[in-house]
């Protein structure tokens, strides 16, 4: 598994992401700059980390979604290559057209930073093989704009084609209600592209990889990726 992490001005989770990738794959990911035009030869996985690219100016992820490197990321995705976007990375994927919909201001207008349970919707993708379908995992969230919205036709298509990756739930695995931190449609925390080779999610699995800092439920995602290529 050869991974590359894209760093934009204002990214701040690239170090956490690199640590999680190194732990799972045994090798350091390449760190790419937003102004680069090419991915390193043989890249299997491109990761867009969390943060506040371009200070969230205009709309979260809007300017990063049009950065020079994104043409190479789009071409990689079109070839079936794996792409993971976490938090601001998910916003960038939506703004760049790699995933449908948009992440709007949290319904309660508050930045939310807390531990969060998620339900794993399917375990047959490159990102989730090390989890069980329906499993509840505990990771963390830290965002002000994570309220996933799309038109009804898009939501129906995501549901019909089983492209929802994770949903917000409580510790008992009950989806929605108070467990939904931001008002996301259908309690969506993450979605796949049509080919299921692109995943965007608001929560931070890369921060839950060490028992010393709160848990290891995030490891499954990186171990799945490590065994995928």
């Amino acid at each position: 598994m050869k991974a590359a992490v894209v760093v934009f001005p204002g990214s701040n989770r690239e170090g956490d992401m690199a640590r999680a990738l190194k732990q799972a794959t045994g090798r350091e990911p390449a760190m790419l700059w937003h102004a680069d035009h090419e991915l390193p030869a043989g890249t299997d996985l491109v990761v867009l980390p969390g943060g506040f690219s371009y200070g969230d100016y205009l709309r979260c992820g809007a300017i990063a979604g049009r950065a020079a490197i994104m043409d190479a990321v789009r071409a990689h995705a079109a070839r079936g290559g794996l792409v993971l976007g976490v938090c601001n990375g998910f916003q960038i994927l939506c703004e760049s057209g790699l995933l449908p919909g948009v992440l709007m201001r949290n319904a309660n207008l508050r930045f939310v930073c807390r531990m969060q349970h998620l339900k794993v919707e399917r375990s047959d993708t490159a990102f989730t093989r090390q989890y069980a379908k329906g499993q509840t995992i505990e990771v963390c969230i830290a965002h002000g704009e994570g309220n996933y919205e799309a038109d009804d036709a898009t939501i129906d298509r995501l549901e019909g084609e089983h492209l929802v990756a994770f949903r917000y739930c409580d510790s008992a695995g009950t989806v929605g209600g108070e467990a939904n931190p931001n008002g996301s449609r259908n309690d969506i925390a993450g979605i796949y592209s049509d080919g299921r080779n692109v995943l965007g999610l608001m929560p931070h699995p890369e921060n839950l990889i060490d028992a010393l800092v709160g848990g290891t439920d995030g490891r499954g995602l990186f171990e799945s990726l490590a065994s995928a290529a």
């Binding site: 049009r66 319904a107 207008l109 038109d151």
Partner: protein, 78 residues
């Protein structure tokens, strides 16, 4: 040439910021406020003087960057 681009949320898209502003206006005693929707204004200066070319350039700017057409409409005033 100067132009103004106004980007607004499409109707039906929930606008929590607009709702908060609406609530604040009501709590300040501003009477008769039924609904508030928040948008963005861009004042753009264009190098050329041809209005139809400017309109096409601004349309491209809106489609490529200024508006997210999933949730937003835009209006160009020259």
């Amino acid at each position: 040439m100067k132009a103004r681009v106004v980007v607004t949320l499409k109707s039906g898209v929930l606008d929590p910021q607009g709702k908060a502003i609406e609530g604040a206006l009501k709590s300040l005693g501003v009477e008769g406020v039924a609904n508030v929707r928040q948008g963005k204004v861009f004042d753009v200066e264009l190098a050329g003087a041809d209005a139809s070319a400017a309109k096409a350039q601004l349309q491209a700017a809106c489609e490529k960057l200024l508006a997210n057409t999933v949730i937003e409409n835009y209006q160009i005033d020259l």
